[in-house]
């Protein structure tokens, strides 16, 4: 019993971090209606600024032209000034986010705002990777935590900082609640969130209120990041992903109540710590004697799903001034010509390219398949599933396990693997029937984390530390693998044969998606995206359309996973981790989330893809900068080209020639004047 208490109290510190991020998320939501995925990343930014100042006496800066990597201050800085600077840096980041990005997206969909914060999260993580590497640091402590700084309570001894941290967030929550209840600022924010029009008419500037809220949120997250970092891990992904349990707490608080968010956040930390305790009990299930990884992530996911159902499924609606628009979904004019031309181009590329470009092209083709899956589910149906890369992982591990444990190889193995991915995808859809839009992004983010840590990291079901091997594919004794012999290509890996296999996969998936958009199914999906109630009363079964869309998207993601598995000959968890999933979603948005063309552009841009390889080989831009640029590009694209590059203005002449070649001559379009003429005739 004492041990239970001890473990529960040891969860207070990490819980304070979840609570702090959760408070930031709630503040940011109430201020301008954004669900800020980057709140954990802002916390870790604060922790790293503090780390740099305390241990090395420098302030690191993001990679920018003509800006040094760091400013040296001549020696380690004291605790208080370092803390103040860390909070100021994060406050500035929050201010920039609000004024430059969120303000420009006020009339975009809530989804676009969420995606923009995703861009910020990836950029911050990239900056930390560039400046500090991936191995992690030991964070300097702020609160006293020597051997004497302990509290004895009911027979257990617990470090005193656990209590101090929990106390700090509770006080912060109470202060925020008081601020919102009794000050003019709080009243104004509440008014603006309920009805922007009246707020404007009453002379309250919603833009300034939003900026103050975002700055407050970022400062709070930063402070907790600095304080709690010594108790958790200081690296580029642990604290940023603490946003998942923080979302769970924020959901329980309906993105409104500060006190519930703080208590629930601390509770999440306590639960996590108790799971650690339970796992030390002999009766707790293990995997071949080793601890099950990711149990707490599964519990966080379950809490988020339960909170969605229990708290009514929907976030409080905000009254905004302008109706929010979703990016347009163009109808492809032709199917055969682009497919044939692309196939010819791919074949030529694999015959002519050197091995390194062949590998980059294969990576791009597989990336295109992942993005096609995102086009179906996010672009066509408007359901933000962050789980698609996870589903690719499910299929990849299934291919590996089926061949290694059951002796089922090509082509039955990959087909079964895709079927398994579809089952998991449709199960995810079951949760999406009541949850939509931004909320679904939160649920699937938690699902992706749980899938990664609980399944993919598991040594039995997943890859464990070493990865899970995959046998080469053979069809009627023809070798289709990356090692297949082929007259062209100089005998180096990967074989052009496997490139051709990927080409077939991309063309098939692209044709399916384009054909769906042209046909009735695509129209039904767009109807559901437009307005679910209107679609239902027009006789469209919203449930069936969503199930089908999730199924098709899962099948395409499964295909990508299968190709991944054969590409590397071994499946490891990090290929399908949640950060990769978010990177893919960013590239898909930058390319154009609503069209096959967009997926193709996105695929060319993905990490280790063709564009990345050109940049690295010919221009010397290291791959580590690509994540940074991808994050910034995502924010810029959302603001300037809501339909992505594919839906943007006419490309420069050389690119236009290529695109003409692929899609064929432009169809005679009805001029604007002709349409206006029709409208007038119909009016009269």
């Amino acid at each position: 019993m004492e041990q239970v208490l001890a473990f529960a109290l040891l969860g207070l510190g990490p819980g304070a971090l979840y609570a702090g991020i959760s408070l930031g998320v709630v503040l940011n939501y109430r201020g301008c209606g954004v669900i800020n995925v980057a709140m954990g990343a802002i916390a870790v930014l604060g922790a790293y600024v503090f780390y740099g100042l305390r241990t090395g006496g420098y302030l690191f800066l993001p990679p920018l032209p003509f800006v040094p990597a760091r400013i040296d201050l001549g020696g380690p800085v004291g605790v208080v000034p370092a803390l103040v600077v860390a909070i100021l840096v994060c406050a500035l980041t929050g201010w920039l986010l609000d004024v430059v990005v969120l303000r420009a997206l006020r009339n975009a969909s809530p989804l676009a705002m969420l995606m923009a914060t995703l861009g910020l999260m990836l950029s911050i993580q990239a900056v930390i990777l560039l400046r500090f590497g991936a191995s992690g640091q030991s964070a300097p402590s702020v609160l006293a935590n020597g051997p004497g700084d302990v509290v004895h309570i009911l027979g257990v001894t617990v470090p005193s900082d656990e209590f101090e941290l929990a106390g700090i967030v509770i006080v912060a929550a109470l202060a925020l609640a008081a601020l919102y209840r009794w000050t003019r600022f709080g009243l104004a924010t509440r008014a603006a969130s309920e009805n922007e029009t009246t707020a404007v008419l009453a002379g309250l500037p919603p833009a300034r209120l939003s900026a103050i809220n975002t700055v407050l949120a970022a400062s709070l997250a930063a402070a907790l990041g600095v304080l709690v970092a010594p108790l958790t891990q200081l690296d580029s992904s642990t604290i940023p992903l603490a946003v998942v349990p923080a979302f769970g707490a924020a959901l329980l608080a309906r993105f409104t109540s500060f006190s519930i968010a703080a208590v629930a956040g601390v509770g999440m930390g306590v639960i996590e710590s108790l799971v650690t305790y339970l796992q030390s009990r002999p009766w707790f299930p293990t995997t071949h004697g080793a601890q099950l990884p990711g149990v707490s992530d599964v519990i966080f996911f379950a809490i988020i799903v339960a909170a969605m159902y229990w708290r009514g499924g929907a976030l409080p609606q905000r009254g905004s001034l302008v109706e929010r628009r979703l990016p347009k979904v163009p109808r492809p004019n032709r199917l055969e010509r682009p497919a044939i031309v692309c196939a010819v181009l791919c074949v030529a590329a694999f015959l002519l390219f050197t091995y390194d470009f062949r590998q980059a092209a294969i990576n791009s083709l597989i990336g295109m398949v992942v993005c096609l899956s995102l086009v179906v589910i996010i672009g066509f149906v408007g359901q933000v599933s962050l789980l698609q890369v996870g589903l690719a992982g499910v299929a990849a591990f299934a291919v590996s396990k089926l061949s290694a444990n059951a002796g089922i190889g090509f082509p039955l193995g990959p087909l079964l693997a895709i079927v398994i991915a579809v089952f998991v995808g449709v199960a995810a859809a079951a949760s999406a029937l009541r949850v939509r839009g931004v909320n679904l992004a939160v649920v699937t983010l938690a699902a992706a984390v749980a899938l990664e840590n609980f399944v993919f990291e598991n040594p039995t079901w997943g890859g464990g530390f070493t990865g899970s091997p995959v046998g080469p594919p053979h069809l009627f004794s023809v070798d289709l693998s990356t090692q297949a012999s082929f007259p062209a290509g100089g005998g180096q890996l990967p074989s052009p044969v496997f490139g051709l296999v990927c080409t077939v996969g991309v063309i098939a998936a692209g044709l399916l998606v384009a054909s769906m958009r042209r046909g009735r199914l695509g129209q039904q999906m767009l109807a559901v995206r437009s307005n679910e109630s209107a679609a239902a009363t027009a006789g469209i079964s919203v449930r069936n359309v969503k199930f089908l869309a999730f199924g098709v998207a899962a099948a395409i993601a499964g295909l990508a996973g299968v190709l991944y598995a054969y590409n590397f000959g071994s499946v490891s968890a990090d290929r399908f981790d949640v950060i990769n999933a978010l990177v893919f979603v960013s590239f898909a948005y930058v390319g154009g989330i609503t069209s096959v063309t967009g997926a193709v552009i996105a695929g060319l841009g993905v990490t280790e893809g063709v564009i990345g390889h050109i940049l690295e080989k010919w221009l010397g831009v290291p791959a580590s900068y690509q994540l940074y640029v991808a994050g910034l590009l995502l924010m810029a694209t959302l603001i300037m080209l809501p339909e992505g590059i594919a839906g943007g203005p006419a490309p420069p002449p050389p690119v236009r020639v290529i695109s003409r070649l692929i899609v064929g001559p432009a169809r005679a379009r009805r001029s604007r004047a002709a349409i206006d003429g029709t409208l007038q005739r119909a009016d009269s």
Partner: protein
């Protein structure tokens, strides 16, 4: 005459506030029924309840079968259509696609097959529905390029395209001027003559009293009067409810509305 659409004791409440209280409405075959009432009387709520979008108690019958337990989509497939105050067109689709996606009632596996084989086919009757409403020219225009009046007509066309037994129209004349609203009335009568029953919710008393065969008046979620337009026009309860204290003025206004003046 048999009722094609009927609600029996429909009640809806939102968090303790009663929006509809045991409302009985009948729409007979081939009839155009008007549903009027002051703002907040529960007119749109009644349509939402009939379509299965608002949680309600009581029963809804469509063409002699009880559809109370059906989902909104199943009710639509059973022959119930509706339009929306804000049209709620599917913005990414053309006008013709808006109608086709509503009219296509084939099972999903057929649609999947179509997507895999690349075959395309439109359900019949789309062009004739567009022509019936006088918007045959607009088939290829994108929904988001239409004017407000056109959007309303396309909304009506979309509800009619599947060949429903009855259509509920939610304020189709809102935002139209008197001439447009008169034109709309004529077109609706034309549609009713093809055999589709209609329930028309509107604020435009002139329109309702002009074109409807039967009028139901709602106030605070209750039916306070129903009957032929002439009887409802003279009902003192209606005059009182709809136009408040200024009874004399309103009587004059109602009289004037018979010749098409807006109230």
């Amino acid at each position: 005459m048999t009722a094609v659409l009927e609600t029996r004791g429909i009640s809806v409440s939102y968090g303790g506030v009663s929006a509809l209280d045991h409302v009985d409405v009948q729409v007979a075959e081939g009839q155009l029924v008007g549903l009027i009432g002051p703002n907040g009387a529960g007119k749109t709520t009644w349509i939402d309840a009939v379509c299965g979008l608002a949680r309600s108690t009581g029963e809804t019958w469509l063409g002699g079968s009880n559809i109370t337990a059906l989902t909104p989509a199943a009710r639509a497939r059973a022959g119930l259509g509706r339009t929306w105050q804000a049209a709620e067109l599917f913005e990414d689709l053309t006008v013709r696609e808006n109608l086709a996606v509503a009219a296509d009632r084939r099972p999903m596996w057929r649609l999947v097959w179509e997507a895999l084989t690349g075959a395309e086919s439109d359900p019949p009757g789309i062009e004739s529905t567009l022509d019936l409403l006088g918007i045959g020219d607009l088939g290829d225009v994108a929904a988001d390029a239409l004017t407000q009046g056109q959007r309303k007509l396309v909304g009506v066309a979309r509800a009619l395209a599947p060949g429903p037994r009855v259509v509920c129209l939610d304020e189709p004349a809102a935002g139209l001027d008197t001439a447009e609203s008169g034109l709309l009335g004529q077109r609706l009568r034309r549609v009713v003559e093809t055999g589709v029953a209609m329930l028309l919710v509107d604020h435009d008393m002139g329109l309702i009293l002009d074109v409807c065969d039967w009028v139901v008046v709602l106030e605070f979620g209750r039916v306070i009067a129903s009957g032929p337009p002439e009887a409802v026009r003279r009902d003192p309860k209606v005059v009182e409810a709809y136009l408040g204290g200024a009874a004399e003025e309103s009587r004059a206004a109602l009289g004037a509305s018979a010749i098409g003046t807006e109230v």
